[in-house]
C-alpha cells in the first residue's frame, strides 16, 4: 500500500509539473480575423494599424508574442500619453483575449488530452495517496511527525509550495495572458456548463473547487470518527461546488448574470459597484431577488445566524475562502502566529480593512444615487486600490500563497472585512462559545498549536475560562486535539458565556479567581 501511495505522489507531482510548464509551450500567431473578433469596433482601426507588424507572424513562445505586443501596443499608448492625447489612449486590456485567440499550440487543438494529463492525472494521483491514508489505524488524532515534516513545518518543501502558490496567484491576477494554454484546456468544460469559452477566472474556480473536493476527501480520512469535522467538510465542499462553481455557470447559460448566492458583502466587495447593481436591476425578477437576497444576508443573515451559531456558520461551513483554508490549508494550520503581538496586528488590520470597505462602498452608493455628480473619479480609484491591494494581493497572493509559511487563515484572520463584521457580532451578541471543562486543562498546548486563527486557546482553558473571541471560526480542531476533553464548541445561554473571573473547580480551600 505504501508503494501505491508513493506512486500516487509521483503521478501528482508529474502532473503538477506538466500543469506548470504547459503555459509555456506552443506558438502564437495573430491573424487579422482574430483581431476583428476580439477588439471593440471603435478600437479596431487603430489596433489593426498599431499591431500590423506582428499580424500573420508566428511567434515561438508566449513571451516573444507578448513582448512584441507590449512593444507595439505600449508604444502607441505611450506616444498618445506623451502628446497628452488622452482620448486616444486605449485603456482596455486586450492582452489576454488576443493571446488566447492567437494560440496555435497543441493545447488549443487537443484540450482534452492536456486536461487529462494535468488535472485528471493530478486528481487521480492525489487520491491514490489520500484514500489509503491511515488504513487499518484506529480513529484518533493523526498529528505524528507534523513538526518533523518539511512540507508542514516550513521546510524546503513548504517554502517551494508557498513559492509556487504565490507565483501562480501573481500570474493569475496580473499576467493572465501567460496562462492562456491552461485556460484553453478548460474551454470545453466551460462551454458545456455556461456555453461560453473559459476565462482565467473559470480556470481558477475550476482548480479551486477541485482542490476543496480532493483535500476535503483527505479531511474525511484524517478526521475519521469526528462527526463535527466530517459534516463541516461536507458542507464546505457542497457550498463550493454547488453555489460558487456550478450554479453561477448554469445561470450564465440561462442568460442571467454570474452570481454566487452565498457570497456576502463586504467580502464580496464589488456587490454595490454600479455595474453589479445595474446588472442585477436589469436581470428581471431573479436579478431583483439577487439584490434583495444579498442585502438580507448583510442586514439579517449575518447577525441572526451569528447570534445562534457564531461566525462559524459562515467561516468554516459555507465560505469559499474558509472552504479552501479548511481543506487545502488544513496541513498548515499549526503555522499561525499565536503571539500577543500578532493578535494586536490582527485587530488593527482586519478592522482597518472593514472600515476601508465600508467607506468605499458608502461613497460608491452615494455616487450611484447622485449619478456620479461628486467624486466620480475617486470612486473608481478607490475601487482599483481596494481591488489591487485587498481583493488580489491580500486575499489571493498573501491569503493562499502564504499557507505553508504563515498558516491557512492569513486572509481570514488579518484581512477579511466580512470576518471582521461577523466577529464583532460573535464577540458581543452571540450564544456561541468554546466551553472549558472545569479544571481539567493540563496546559499542554495542543489547542493553541493547532488553532488556525492563532488564538492562544490554552490561555483561557488553563484559567477555566470560556473562549469567546471575535476571530474564532469554530473549526472545532482545538476540541478535537485536546487530550483531556476540556474544550467544547457549543451554542447555549448568553448568561455566563463570558466569565471574566472564572473559578477553577476542585479546590475548596479558597474561592480563587483564576
Amino acid at each position: 500500500m505504501k508503494q501505491f501511495q508513493q506512486a500516487g505522489i509521483v503521478i501528482f507531482v508529474i502532473s503538477l509539473l506538466l500543469f506548470s510548464v504547459l503555459p509555456f509551450i506552443g506558438s502564437y500567431k495573430l491573424e487579422k480575423e482574430t483581431l476583428a473578433a476580439s477588439v471593440k469596433t471603435e478600437h479596431l482601426g487603430v489596433m489593426e494599424e498599431v499591431l500590423a507588424p506582428m499580424v500573420g507572424q508566428e511567434f515561438s513562445s508566449n513571451f516573444a508574442f507578448m513582448g512584441e505586443f507590449n512593444r507595439l501596443f505600449g508604444g502607441y499608448n505611450d506616444a498618445m500619453k506623451a502628446n497628452q492625447q488622452w482620448d486616444k489612449v486605449i485603456w482596455d486590456n486586450y492582452a489576454f483575449a488576443l493571446t488566447k485567440a492567437s494560440a496555435l499550440g497543441p493545447v488549443s487543438q487537443n484540450p482534452h488530452f492536456y486536461l487529462f494529463i494535468t488535472v485528471v492525472f493530478g486528481v487521480v494521483g492525489a487520491l491514490m495517496y489520500i484514500l489509503p491514508m491511515y488504513r487499518g489505524k484506529p480513529e484518533g488524532i493523526k498529528h505524528d511527525g507534523i513538526f518533523f515534516s518539511s512540507m508542514k513545518s516550513k521546510g524546503l518543501l513548504g517554502i517551494l509550495t508557498g513559492t509556487w502558490l504565490i507565483l501562480f496567484y501573481i500570474v493569475l491576477y496580473w499576467f493572465p495572458e501567460y496562462l492562456t494554454n491552461l485556460v484553453l484546456m478548460v474551454d470545453p468544460i466551460s462551454m458545456a456548463l455556461s456555453g461560453n469559452p473559459a476565462s482565467q477566472w473559470f480556470l481558477y474556480g475550476f482548480v479551486y473547487t477541485l482542490a476543496i473536493i480532493v483535500m476535503g476527501i483527505r479531511m474525511f480520512r484524517k478526521y475519521r470518527g469526528n462527526a463535527y469535522q466530517t459534516i463541516r467538510t461536507v458542507s464546505v465542499m457542497f457550498f463550493q461546488l454547488a453555489f460558487a462553481f456550478l450554479l453561477p455557470e448554469i445561470m450564465v447559460l440561462m442568460n442571467m448574470p454570474w452570481h454566487d448566492f452565498k457570497n456576502i458583502w463586504p467580502l464580496d466587495y464589488s456587490f454595490f459597484y454600479d455595474y453589479r447593481i445595474d446588472g442585477m436591476v436589469n436581470a428581471g425578477a431573479l436579478g431583483m431577488f439577487m439584490l434583495i437576497w444579498g442585502i438580507i444576508l448583510i442586514v439579517l443573515g449575518v447577525p441572526i445566524f451569528t447570534y445562534f451559531f457564531g461566525k462559524r456558520w459562515y467561516c468554516s461551513w459555507v465560505c469559499g475562502c474558509g472552504g479552501l483554508a479548511e481543506t487545502l490549508g488544513d496541513p498548515y494550520r499549526q503555522l499561525s502566529d499565536k503571539s500577543v503581538k500578532a493578535w494586536k496586528i490582527e485587530r488593527y488590520l482586519i478592522h482597518g480593512v472593514l472600515v476601508f470597505a465600508i467607506l468605499m462602498t458608502g461613497l460608491t452608493i452615494a455616487n450611484y444615487f447622485t449619478e456620479f455628480a461628486l467624486l466620480g473619479q475617486a470612486t473608481n480609484q478607490l475601487h482599483s486600490i481596494y481591488g489591487f491591494a485587498i481583493g488580489s494581493a491580500f486575499a489571493g497572493v498573501v491569503g493562499t500563497g502564504f499557507y505553508p509559511l504563515m498558516g491557512n487563515r492569513v486572509w481570514c484572520r488579518f484581512g477579511c472585512p466580512l470576518a471582521a463584521y461577523l466577529g464583532i457580532v460573535q464577540r458581543f451578541k452571540s450564544r456561541f462559545r468554546i466551553t472549558t471543562n472545569g479544571g481539567q486543562c493540563i496546559s499542554c498546548g495542543n489547542c493553541s498549536t493547532y488553532c488556525e486563527m492563532g488564538i492562544d486557546v490554552r490561555w483561557y482553558a488553563q484559567r477555566g475560562q470560556n473562549i469567546v473571541r471575535s476571530s474564532c471560526v469554530g473549526c472545532g480542531v482545538c476540541s478535537a486535539v485536546c487530550p483531556r476533553g476540556v474544550l467544547k464548541l457549543e451554542n447555549a445561554d448568553e448568561e455566563g458565556r463570558i466569565n471574566e473571573k472564572p473559578i477553577l473547580i476542585g479546590n475548596n480551600s479558597i474561592t480563587l479567581n483564576a
Partner: protein
Amino acid sequence: MNNRKIIIIGNGIAGITAARHIRKKDVGAEILVVSGESDHFFSRTALMYIYMGHMKYAHTKPYEDGFWEKNRINLKRAWVDTVDFQGKKVEYRDGGTDAYDVLILATGSKPNKFGWPGQDLQGVQGLYSLQDLERMEQNTKDIKKAVIVGGGLIGIEMAEMLASRKIEVTFLVREENFWDNVLPKEEAQLIGRHIREHHIDLRLGTELGEIIGDSSGRVKAVSTKSGEKIDCQFVGLTVGVSPNIEFLRNSELGTNRGILVNEFFQTNIPDVYAIGDCAEFKQAPAPDRRNIEQVWYTGRMHGETLAHNLTHSKAVPYKPGIWFNSAKFFDIEYQTYGTVPTALPADWDWFYWEDPKGKRCFRIVFGKSDKKIKGVNALGWRLRHAYFDKAIAEGWMMEKVLLHLQKANFDPEFFDSPHKDVLAAYNEQYGKSLQPALKSLFQNLFGTKV
C-alpha cells in the same frame, strides 16, 4: 510583607502557580523562581507531544517569554546544591548564593528505580524531565525495538511515543491488567485491548528480571522473571515517581518519602514551605487522598492555596474538593470524577455500561442503601466537570444523575452521545423504565430557552 524576598525552587506547575498568585496579591514582593531544568515554565504533560512531532518545545510554554519580566517574576537557571536554612540562603551548584525571607520548595519528582540489575546501562531511562526527553531522543535514534516496564500513565505514554516513531514496543506490566491499581477490571481490560490494537506487545502479569547489556555498556535485551529474554535497544522504566529531594536530605528539613508538611504546606522550618509532587502531607488532606499528590491539578491547587496563605493574614488549610482526573490512552480519553475504587466496599454498588464496539464505557459508583452518587469513570466519552462536581458534592441520587446524563455530555457536537444507551442498559439490568425529557429538534438547534 513589603519587599520580602521569596525564592521558589522549581518552575513546574506548583511553583509557577504559586509565583503568579503571589504576584497578583503582593506587588512589593521580590519573587525569584529557580530551575535547573529549563529557562521557562513548560507543560511537563506535553513532553510526549514534542517527541511525537505534534508540537515543538516552544509550543509547550503556556506563557510568552516576556510574561515573566512584565510580571516581575525573576527567573534563574541553576541547580540548587544546598539550602542553608540557618542563614536563609540557597547555594547553587555552579557557585553563588541567593538569600530569601520565604522559601518555597517545589522540586517535583524523579523516576523510580528499584535496583534492577542493569538499570543504569545506556539506553535505560525513565521519563519525567526535559533532560529525560532529550536523552530519550538520543537513546532511541535508529533503534528497532524497545521494552517498557511498568503499567502506568507514563508507561503507556512512552509506548505511544515510541510507536509513533515505528519502534516495536513490548510493554511489561506486572499487574493482571493495565493500570488496574487505579482502574476497575473492565476499564483496565478495555484499555488493554486498545493498546494491542496499536500493535503494542502488551505482556500482562509479567515482571522484569534483569536488564542485559552488551560489552559497550548499552542495553541489548531484558529478561523477565519467568526467564524469557526479549531483545531490545531501549528500556523505558516507568514504575512511578518519587519526590525529588535528594539535595535536601541530611539537613534539618523534616522529610520522609517527601518533604513533610502540614495542611498549610509548612515544613518543620519557619518560612519554608513545600508544594506539589515533592510535598508529603503528614496527614492525608482527605480520606480519599494520598499523602503525596503527584498530579498536575493538585500541584496547581497547592500553588494557589499557598499563594493565598502567603498574601493573607489568615491562612486557610488545604482542602481539596471533589477528586477529578483525566488521561489519554492512545486514542481513548479517560475522565474520572469523585471516588471510583477498583474493588467495591461492602456498602457500595456500581453500574457499568460498555459500548458494543468496546471502545467507550461509563461507570457510576453509588451507595448501596442510599443510592447517592460517589463517583464516575468514563472512557471514550467526555463528561462535564461542573455537572459531576455538583452532583457528587450535593449527593444526587444516582438515577437522577443517569436521567440527566445528556447535560453531562461534553463530546463535540454531532457526536453520538451514549446517554440513551446508558439509561437503556440501566433500565434493562434493574428492570426500571426511566425516561429522560426529550428535547425537540428546534430546542436542539436553538437552545431550550428560545
